[in-house]
């Protein structure tokens, strides 16, 4: 009876297992069961995601109510979502590879360049977005991630945050007018009662706005 060299037998078994693993990997890839690969030598590997792995996040970013932009260190737009295009009133397709600085006010461009070059997670600046029709929108740019030299920036429209302050200003103005009216109607008791009611409603609204501002302040410091 022919004997088999144990070393060769072990090697053969090892090679069979390696072949089986390679075939299994080939099957998994061809059946679409993987969505990322590790590439690069030794311990310096990087993970490359296949396009379908991004799909869910991409849909989320496309539909969110905050603008999102990915830009190179020299400020070229690599990606922008629909919300950002809507803020500017510019077709989305027109924005790719356009300089981000062309969409901010002249006075903010140098600050924006520094911001993109020195981007660090959670850093932020406030600038004026220059719209196509000549109007401007105050926005906050916050770095969401910074990888491979590219900054992904969230764009927040600051106008809604300014509305409570504007409302407080308007209420103060109304209150002053009511007080003036109150003095001129000194002899009319019925009119004074009505004005007192209006005054209380105004004070109630002012308190509500103050509370809204407090909640906002707790959510994050307003710059």
């Amino acid at each position: 009876m022919e004997t088999v060299n144990p070393t060769l037998e072990n090697e053969l078994q090892h090679l069979r297992e390696r072949l089986q693993e390679a075939e299994e990997m080939h099957r998994a890839i061809s059946h679409g069961e993987v969505d990322a690969f590790v590439v690069g030598p030794g311990g310096n590997g990087r993970v490359l995601l296949l396009a379908n792995a991004y799909q869910r996040y991409r849909q989320l970013v496309e539909r969110m109510q905050q603008g999102a932009v990915t830009a190179t260190p020299d400020g070229q737009i690599l990606f922008a979502n629909q919300r950002f295009a809507d803020m500017l009133d510019v077709p989305l397709a027109q924005m790719y590879t356009a300089p981000l600085e062309s969409y901010v006010g002249l006075g903010d461009r140098a600050r924006l360049s520094r911001f993109l070059m020195l981007s660090a997670r959670d850093s932020r600046i406030e600038v004026e977005l220059a719209r196509r029709d000549g109007s401007s929108i105050p926005i906050r740019l916050s770095v969401a991630s910074f990888a491979d030299g590219y900054a992904t920036v969230l764009v927040t429209d600051l106008r809604p945050m300014q509305w409570p302050s504007l409302a407080v200003g308007a209420l103060d103005s109304i209150r002053t007018s009511v007080e003036k009216l109150n003095r001129s109607l000194a002899g009319d008791a019925a009119a004074r009662d009505t004005l007192r009611d209006i005054s209380e409603e105004i004070n109630g609204l002012a308190r509500m706005i103050d509370q809204m501002l407090d909640v906002e302040a707790m959510g994050g410091p307003r710059k």
Binding site: E24, A28, D35, A36, V38, N44, G45, V47, L49, R56
Partner: protein
């Protein structure tokens, strides 16, 4: 090969390599937990290694494609590539069921 009987007393140490919350990574984790609950209840641990956070860890188990499941214990080490959606194949790959 480890039979279902001999496997019944052993502790299973499994490591799943994922790429963040990619769809295939999430599917693999869900499928793995289901298989483990059905066949290894109370005798397994799953360690999830997110290679998006730390790609260097891929070197430890020579990971090329993601998701990949590595059976660390019981020995011998076994690797299963893919989302583990084919339960039969997963059971055979983990040697919980003999190859037909």
């Amino acid at each position: 090969m480890i039979s279902a009987n001999s496997a019944s007393a052993e502790k299973w140490n499994l490591r799943l390599y994922t790429a963040g919350q990619s769809p295939k990574s999430l599917a693999a984790l869900a499928n793995l937990k289901r298989v483990c609950d059905e066949h290894l209840a109370g005798r397994y641990t799953i360690e999830v290694v997110d290679l998006l956070k730390n790609p260097r860890l891929a070197k430890d188990d020579q990971i090329v494609a993601i998701p990949t499941l590595v059976r660390k214990l019981p020995e011998p080490l076994r690797r299963l590539v893919g989302d583990l959606s084919d339960t039969e194949r997963t059971l055979v790959g983990l040697q919980l069921r003999p190859r037909s």
